[in-house]
Symmetry: C2
Subunit: 189 residues, 2 copies
DNA sequence: ATGAACTTTCATAAGATTCTGAAAGTTCTG
DNA sequence: CAGAACTTTCAGAATCTTATGAAAGTTCAT
């Protein structure tokens, strides 16, 4: 009803889309990805690209490319309607699926890469003979690289655990989350 | 011993510094921050800025600014030596302290901001009267924003739990980490 | 106080990323 | 199969980020 009363809603929805955009940008994606996905997600029904261009004030080119990215990450899917030449886009609604995929494919890969380098370096340093003076420093370097490895492994395991839990069900994760919240002493909501 | 035999070591250390730089960049910091911190961390003893400029091939300006950043994040500290006019820089060695501070001050803040927006929007939409047709869509939007909130809250609680655990001791976290690793079924190391 | 030794600042350059929009490419309908 | 309706591509523009290095600012031994 009252199409111009709904303007307020539009504003808020737009803000939500921007917030998601900011989060995504923070996560190393393009801001536009978050904005488009959120818009589709909130809409709940497939929208044509032109509609997104208008709502988000982006060019057709940007929309096309960004939608391709989103599709590639499996968070938006493309559908057609009989008798309509346009393509419609719909948001993947299983948010956890999206997040865990990113964790798996991006964060984990990043950590893995670093671990590789750490191990290489450790091996190389360990397998060399040093004079008495250098030996001390070399030992310290080894020890510190080992600690970096440890940290990376903790991170890796955390990620794996989170992804694994979430794969089966969001439930267990929620429990963990609640425990954490209680621990840290939160207030409202 | 054999200063040019040590070249290999230098290469590996440089790689480690770059790996840390990449991780930090991935986390939304400047790559140079990671490179400098790692160099100092591996060195184990305070180094003057000029040394860093040379080793990492960066300008004095970049070194100065980046070191200021690192200092601001509390991951590098600045010391002086009697009879030496230069300032020496040393890496904070409590890596966990660094990470948890970032989690607390940055990631958490980011999530908090988004939660705020989500709640605002929910309230605004909920407190409006809709016609029968719009009511359906509004309800769906509400429901979806709520789910975004849920996810953000899970993330927030995870972060808080991790930070909290780590504050007391890295030990508990390690246990969690191992559990996760076992769950996910890893192989070597 | 002076000035040599360092450090910080900041305008400008360099580099990287993202956006635009028109041209080229597709895909349907009639 | 012609052409209208859309979509993709991509070279260039705009924007954002990071680096440079010379000038200005400090600090300290004398």
């Amino acid at each position: 009803m009252a199409p111009q009363l709904a303007q307020d809603d539009q504003d808020h929805l737009h803000e939500v889309a921007d917030a998601v955009g900011a989060l995504m940008e923070f996560w190393g994606f393009k801001r536009a990805m978050g904005r488009i996905w959120a818009t589709l997600y909130l809409e709940g029904e497939p929208l044509p690209a032109a509609e997104l261009c208008e709502r988000l004030d982006i060019s057709t080119g940007a929309a096309s490319m960004t939608l391709a990215d989103l599709e590639h990450w499996g968070v938006v899917l493309r559908t057609r309607r009989p008798g309509d030449r346009r393509e419609y886009f719909e948001a993947e609604t299983d948010v956890w699926k999206m997040v865990s995929r990113v964790l798996r494919e991006r964060e984990l890969a990043q950590i893995e890469r670093a671990l590789q380098v750490f191990d290489n370096a450790r091996e190389a340093i360990a397998s060399r003979k040093y004079g008495v003076v250098e030996a001390f420093r070399a030992r310290r370097k080894l020890e510190r690289i080992a600690r970096l490895s440890d940290l990376a492994k903790v991170g890796k395991s955390l990620l794996m655990a989170v992804v694994q839990q979430g794969k089966a069900d969001l439930g267990p994760l929620r429990r963990f989350a609640r425990a954490g919240a209680a621990l840290a002493g939160k207030r409202r909501e």
